[in-house]
């Protein structure tokens, strides 16, 4: 058995998930990850691809959620506290990659968290979140903030919760940020501090295991990154764009967002605006301009420290 901590959850897992922080053996678990086979209901196609494989999705009468990737694995999320993994390959790294992304996302969704396909960092005491279409620079922007002394909160999947007073906060995910080879070079990351990503693509992973904090961080700034030169560099999101832009960056199958769940997503989208400012931002051209923007953003005490 393995004990982990991720997304604020104490996790007891039958499979190894090296991406996660080590958990406390004596703490009662919130999520049990089991390795077992199970029957799949009829699947629907989704808009989700990972490693070039398209995910199938299903929901059964008991509200259990299923994701299936051909020749990789099937996942069954139950009740927000039980995830069953049916591995269809031997490669343990591949299974953990698929487990800690959308499959875990299903559990977070069942627990009522607001999910975004985004990377997040802590700037001073604030949670900042970056999203955009693939290639818009989510992870690169996060990497630039981290290089300047900010802490990583999440990469790829950002979970947002709401306090009793209604304020939004980012739940830190786990200490891994994947960056491109040229990003590592461009931002002057020490290659010795990075791990090559198993998939053989020219990506590296930055794993700040020792100084990763699991305390929630108030959500303050949300940037929708784009590369369009014909638009202004920074504009606030209009009210009408808020629910639809959030929807575009929903990281799980769109089939999940019907009726009550869609209503919840709509309310949570606007609830974010009570705590945070939402921007459409043109991504700075080149690493030098990115670094310049980052330095303008971060509080002085952080640079000094």
């Amino acid at each position: 058995m393995h004990h982990y901590k991720a997304f604020g959850l104490n996790i007891l897992s039958e499979i190894k998930l090296p991406e996660f922080s080590d958990g406390d053996v004596d703490t009662k678990h919130d999520l049990y990850i089991q390795s077992a086979s199970f029957d799949l209901p009829t699947l629907e196609k989704t808009q989700l691809y990972r490693r070039g494989v398209r995910a199938g999705f299903a929901k059964d009468a008991d509200e259990n959620l299923y994701l299936h990737w051909n020749n990789v694995g099937s996942f069954k999320a139950m009740n927000g506290n039980h995830l069953i993994v049916n591995a269809l390959v031997e490669d343990a790294n591949l299974i953990s990659l698929f487990t800690v992304s959308e499959a875990l996302g299903l559990i977070l969704f069942q627990r009522g968290l607001f999910l975004l396909h985004a990377s997040s960092v802590q700037v001073g005491n604030e949670g900042w979140c970056f999203m955009g279409t693939p290639g818009a620079g989510k992870s690169t922007t996060a990497a630039a903030f981290i290089k300047a002394g900010c802490k990583l909160l999440s990469d790829d999947l950002t979970a947002i919760g709401f306090g009793n007073d209604g304020s939004a906060y980012i739940v830190p995910a786990y200490p891994q940020l994947k960056i491109w080879d040229k990003t590592a070079d461009g931002l002057h990351y020490e290659k010795s501090e990075l791990q090559p990503v198993s998939e053989g693509v020219n990506k590296f992973s930055y794993q700040p295991k020792s100084d990763f904090l699991h305390e929630p961080v108030p959500l303050k700034e949300v940037f929708f990154l784009h590369k369009a030169r014909n638009r202004k560099p920074l504009v606030p999101l209009s009210a009408a764009e808020i629910p639809t832009e959030m929807l575009k960056n929903f990281p799980l199958p769109s089939q999940l967002l019907t009726d009550v769940a869609l209503k919840r997503h709509f309310s949570q989208s606007f609830q974010c605006t009570r705590s945070a400012r939402l921007w459409k931002k043109k991504r700075p051209d080149g690493f030098e301009n990115l670094g310049k923007w980052v330095n303008e953003c971060i509080p002085e005490q952080l640079i000094a420290g």
Binding site: A239, P243, L257, T258, D259, V260, L262, K263, F270
Partner: protein, 89 residues
């Protein structure tokens, strides 16, 4: 006189004076102009008649009652068609 109320298919939110509505049954989003938002705000307080809605708009905008009435009537028809508003029989 007929009264109008918001349906259970809708949920709305207001940011910086702009109102955005979702019909979560259909999965469709809507925006309202300034006058539309006045009408919506009043419907949020409870069922309204065409006259009460018209009075609310006239108290904020300089418009003659006839034009106001026919404009609001048109808006209500649109909102009813989109199942955001219903007439109470």
């Amino acid at each position: 006189m007929a009264k109008y109320q918001l349906t259970s298919d809708q949920i709305s939110s207001k940011v910086a004076g702009e109102t955005v509505i979702l019909n979560h049954n259909k999965g469709a989003y809507y925006g309202l102009d300034e006058v539309g938002a006045v009408v919506w705000d009043n419907l949020e307080r409870g069922p309204q008649t065409l006259d009460s809605l018209c009075n609310a708009v006239i108290s904020e905008y300089e418009v003659d009652p006839e034009t106001c009435k026919s404009d609001i009537d048109l808006l209500l028809k649109d909102l009813i068609f989109e199942k955001l508003v219903e007439e109470i029989k």
